[in-house]
Symmetry: C2
Subunit: 142 residues, 2 copies
């Protein structure tokens, strides 16, 4: 296999697919001056290199009733609570994303819920592991 590095064409293809992963290789090929098959080969390489992890949707949670979008910074109350907290976080589908962070708090997470009641219930459960700070997203402006 070739060089581990990506050239400009690879990045262009990547950007193009991030924008719309259904674009055909042929169409992308016209942009980057390659045949569709050559684009296909590069996409496969991006996959092999681990640059591309998978294909997914851009979608609208509030259209299925998940109107609350919030960010929660968690401050663990003890050193032993970490693994328990992690398995809790992983088990909850309303917790979309969790990061171990340095700076403010120990963990940061993004949650999506159907309303204030659900948020209240979730935060109550978080309290078992530590304190938190909450930011509600009013609008995603970018």
């Amino acid at each position: 296999m070739a060089n581990q590095t990506l050239d400009d064409t690879d990045l262009q293809i990547l950007q193009c697919l991030i924008d719309n992963s259904l674009r055909s290789h042929k169409e992308i090929g016209q942009l980057v001056h390659l045949s569709g098959q050559a684009v296909g080969a590069r996409v496969r390489r991006l996959h092999d290199l681990g640059v591309i992890d998978g294909y997914t949707l851009r979608w609208n949670p509030d259209k299925i009733g998940q109107t609350v979008h919030a960010f929660v910074t968690v401050f663990m109350k003890s050193n032993t609570a970490h693994t328990a907290f992690l398995s809790f976080a992983r088990s909850r589908p309303e917790i979309i994303e969790v990061h171990r962070v340095s700076g403010e708090g120990c963990y940061w997470m993004r949650v999506r819920l159907s309303g204030g009641g659900a948020l209240n219930a979730l935060l109550d459960e978080v309290l078992a592991y530590g304190n938190y700070k909450l930011s509600l997203s009013i609008e995603m402006v970018k």
Copy 2:
């Protein structure tokens, strides 16, 4: 057009596509007991209803050298800085996502950068609009 509501099958299809948007309609159809074409029609409806916004990639920014992933909460220093800050944020490709928030600060944003130097430079610019709090993502654990 039909009812505005989505049934369980629609949600199953949605979940399936979020997991892997390249799955064929036929394969999804086998899961939800429909023909591929019926799945296609429902996917089109999800599009029309605005539930599905587009198709994109799950990918790995650190593989292209963007190794720093950070969350920045911004506290505006004046009421007039908002629009300027927004156009600044929108113009910077390293600022991936921006939300207006209630709770901690005025805005929350996610940034991806090539290293500490770039982060330092970006934060310097943010200081023109207000103060900030920074959290570095050590690892995305979910």
